[in-house]
Symmetry: C2
Subunit: 345 residues, 2 copies
């Protein structure tokens, strides 16, 4: 089924200028809401612009003013694990400002990160918010030359290029390990991603294993996977691991979604949770509210990270903030015990 449509050329300032009988400059002033125009002229111009359906050309405006009200947000994935939270915090903070977030996704691939960064920086954004502290040399070079504030988010275990907001994932791993051991669990299994390019998952794992070691323990068993997370994946991993190591008394998952899948599996199998078997994930994902039990987890403070990152960009991208020093904000990973972990042994 087809139907014709008349093509039209977008209007220019000049069209409005001629229709309203004032200079282009005056139209420009009115549309940018500058105060130095008489009320009568303003009214007439606004009316004309609306009537014609004029939409300003930001490309020309940006080139002339060398101001672009975009903030590049570069993240590894849009999965509902982290993206909605971080993005929510950013949007909320920028909502009432002139700045607008624009998102690029890297799929945890350094080469894609480079490509996405290159594309986004070529639009000369007013700021860059990018996940993680690990970037290729080329990416770091681009960021250093961006001519705009750069905020690396999620992680604080490393050296930022400019600003950073996040939590220590090593510490998050340690906190969970300590809580598990304090609760009296001893035969601990790990289930999670293969962690190839997921540096934060790796750091949590390292912190976890290290803290166990300090308490004289080591992982009893582990099961890795590659590819996307999902409840089904969590079930599968859990079944495999428990079949191999039935004497485990705690399962530590690298994220809440596979943890939740594991929880559903264990409940169906009739395991005594948290009495004989404890479970924990990582992230504090809202989406999972409403499952039969609340999974123990560590809140990764995604919304707050988004908010703070946007604030740092905002301050530096706004009139007078150009010279602000770089800054690193460390938030505190917080244990949420839920219903799948005892409080004490």
């Amino acid at each position: 089924m087809t139907h014709p449509i008349p093509p039209r050329r977008p209007l220019t300032l000049r069209d409005v200028s001629e229709a309203a009988g004032v200079s282009e400059m005056t139209v420009s002033r009115v549309l940018r809401g500058r105060g130095d125009v008489s009320a009568a002229t303003r009214e007439r111009v606004l009316e004309t612009a609306r009537r014609l359906g004029y939409v300003p050309n930001k490309i020309a405006g940006a080139l002339a003013s060398s101001r672009v009200n975009l903030v590049a947000v570069v993240i590894p994935s849009m999965s509902n694990m982290v993206f909605p939270g971080v993005m929510g915090g950013i949007s909320e903070t920028l909502e009432t400002t002139a700045l607008q977030p624009v998102v690029g996704v890297t799929d945890y691939k350094p080469e894609k990160e480079e490509k996405v960064l290159y594309e986004m920086l070529s639009w000369r954004p007013s700021g860059v918010i990018i996940a993680g502290l690990e970037h290729s040399d080329a990416a770091r070079a681009m960021l250093a030359h961006a001519g705009a504030p750069v905020v690396e988010i999620m992680d604080t275990d490393g050296d930022p290029i400019d600003c950073a907001v996040g939590i220590s994932h090593r510490r998050a791993g340690r906190i969970m390990a300590d809580a598990i051991v304090d609760a009296g669990y001893r035969r601990i299994g790990f289930l999670g991603t293969a962690m190839g390019m997921d540096h934060r998952a790796r750091k949590r794992f390292e912190g976890f294993v290290e803290a166990l070691a300090k308490r004289g323990l080591e992982l009893a068993d582990q099961e890795f996977y590659a590819g996307g997370s999902g409840l089904a994946k969590g079930r599968e991993l859990t079944q495999t691991l428990l079949a191999r190591a039935p004497d485990l008394d705690f399962l530590y998952y690298s994220n809440d979604v596979i943890g939740a899948g594991g929880m559903l599996y264990c409940l169906e199998q009739g395991y005594d949770i948290p009495g004989k078997l404890g479970l924990a994930g990582f992230n504090g994902v809202e989406m999972l509210q409403g499952l039969p039990r609340r999974l123990a987890t560590i809140n990764s403070e995604r919304i707050e990270i988004g908010r703070k990152a946007a604030e740092l960009v905002l301050a530096r991208a706004t009139e007078g903030g150009e010279a602000l020093a770089s800054e690193t904000i460390r938030l505190t990973p917080k244990l949420e015990r839920g219903d799948t972990m005892r409080a004490t042994g």
Copy 2:
């Protein structure tokens, strides 16, 4: 904790031109991959650009060429109900092309849709993909003047401005109603959003009620809610409705997430599903794979909608496609019976 960073001005074509000892024009040609440059010159320019860390200024490029490789994608929400699927289809299709999707969110608010559209169109995108067929007059005017192909997605019950790809939500409602009645259920309850500005949810509801009427039935009871969907919300609605109308034998939810919450609640309460009580949602959300039962649903073909929409834009935004006629693509909503609905009475 603070640490200083040296600010740098972004490089221009001229910097590369001087460093490489050729004209700006030649550098421009090389960087745009045009063939009419000698291999030696090309090599030298490429080397220089890389060494300096040059990132082209697309703003200037776009202004000069009046070509912008962006596709505006305007959707009501980033919830994991529809966004990831649609976006996946779009990204996948545009991945290998010069076009890049940029997302704007309307929160189901007409005034926000206008604002987002205005912002996005002011960047003169090569195409617009926008959810729904219902828009304010102002929004419709902007779209008609966009000077770029417009594809309205998700819904085909109405008149598109240019192109459209989607399913008939009325038909989806009818299909579900027929399947439920055919399976022998008779006391049917509806649980869903208040549907203020969610036109597609409203159309499904209308189709559903209409099809029931044709079979001589009407809704036995219903429960509406406002605000975000979540498993917990589904539990709550279900509890309320079943307390009020314990004799219901089917619960039709306006989306899969609240449906899944309801399912968890009903299983815990020991209802015989699908024997004595049937359940169904809408969307076909992958995320829910791995729950104790597969919820009956209607697949809304989100990925395919994304793909087709991107293809329509691509064809029209590419050399020679400017004059292509408008086109409407109707996909077929497909029933997925899952484990929560009998096949026959």
